[in-house]
């Protein structure tokens, strides 16, 4: 989509006159990847849209101070993940729901959601993923759906590669159990 790589985009952003243009390019380059990452965590489109907007607003405000210690897309994913987790926490405290009830609520949303067109098996897989603890769910989504490398995941989630591998292994086992039991 964009002919610029991340370094060039960041250099462009530092130029005050081209700041808006550079930010627009960053949004266009990463909006879909981040949207699907967020969507798999919070399930609903409307919530995903709000979180994606908040993510990019934080990026807009923080891009000046971005020190390029990490890659741009790692930083973007980290903000999106944190925003999604914060959103889930807020929802649970807002409706005073225990974790299990909130996940059950999301499962019901999945069935009635007009923006979910999956078949029966895909729906079952999503429900099995929703049964996982939040962090395990994020690890599974990043590895299984986004096919992300463990090294990159480690930078985004600030967790060791070993812990991520173990987390993914446990997640797959739980999903297998969900499929065999049902």
């Amino acid at each position: 989509m964009s002919e610029y790589n991340d370094k060039e985009l960041l250099a462009l952003f530092k130029d005050v006159e081209k700041r808006n243009y550079a930010f627009n390019l960053i949004v266009r380059k990463y909006q879909e990847k981040l949207y699907w990452h967020i969507r798999k965590i919070v399930i609903k489109h409307e919530d995903s849209n709000d979180i994606l907007q908040n993510t990019f607003i934080k990026v807009w405000k923080g891009l000046d101070g971005f020190r390029e210690d990490s890659k741009l897309y790692t930083w973007l994913y980290r903000i999106a993940t944190n925003e999604s987790l914060t959103f889930l926490k807020q929802q649970k405290t807002k409706y005073l729901l225990p974790i299990v009830d909130y996940e059950n609520n999301l499962k019901e949303t999945l069935v009635s959601d007009v923006y979910f067109n999956g078949n029966e098996i895909q729906c079952k897989l999503q429900k099995a993923v929703l049964d996982l603890p939040e962090k395990q769910r994020i690890v599974f989504n990043m590895k299984y759906f986004d096919e992300m490398k463990y090294d990159d995941m480690s930078k985004i989630l600030e967790t060791s590669v070993g812990a991520l591998k173990a987390s993914y292994h446990h997640a797959v086992k739980k999903i297998e159990k969900y499929f065999t039991e049902d």
Binding site: N24, V27, R28, H45, I57, Y115, G118, C123, V172, K173
Partner: protein
Amino acid sequence: MNDFNKKLGKLKGNTNPFSVPKGYFESFPTELQEKIIYENREYIWIIKLFRFVKPQVALGLMIVAFALIAITTVNFIQTNSSNSTIDNDLYTRTIEVDASEFTEQHFIDVLLDDKKKVNDHSTEDSEFYIHYLIDEDIDYQTLIEALY
């Protein structure tokens, strides 16, 4: 576990089960820009408002601070005056003794009150003497004649 991993791999081969409203990704950057502009305007408006009301707020705070100091000082003085060496009874008496408060009627009342007290006292004494004379069988008629 391996069989299940293969099964999972096959599942992934299918299309994305989630979808978005038509034209969502095309319109998202514009919506985002509008939101950022709106937020910036709101932020600038708050800053402008704050700059405008800053002197008034400072003046208001000064008045409030002055009022607080005054109230605290008055309270402090009142608390200390209640602990003074002059007690309430003495204070009341001092007020009562103030000559300007006295009237003629006040003097008359006081005099009548004193006379009444004396009369009560003399009646009590007379009765005591009469009982004494009766008990001792003294010829009080002779005494009366001698006295008058």
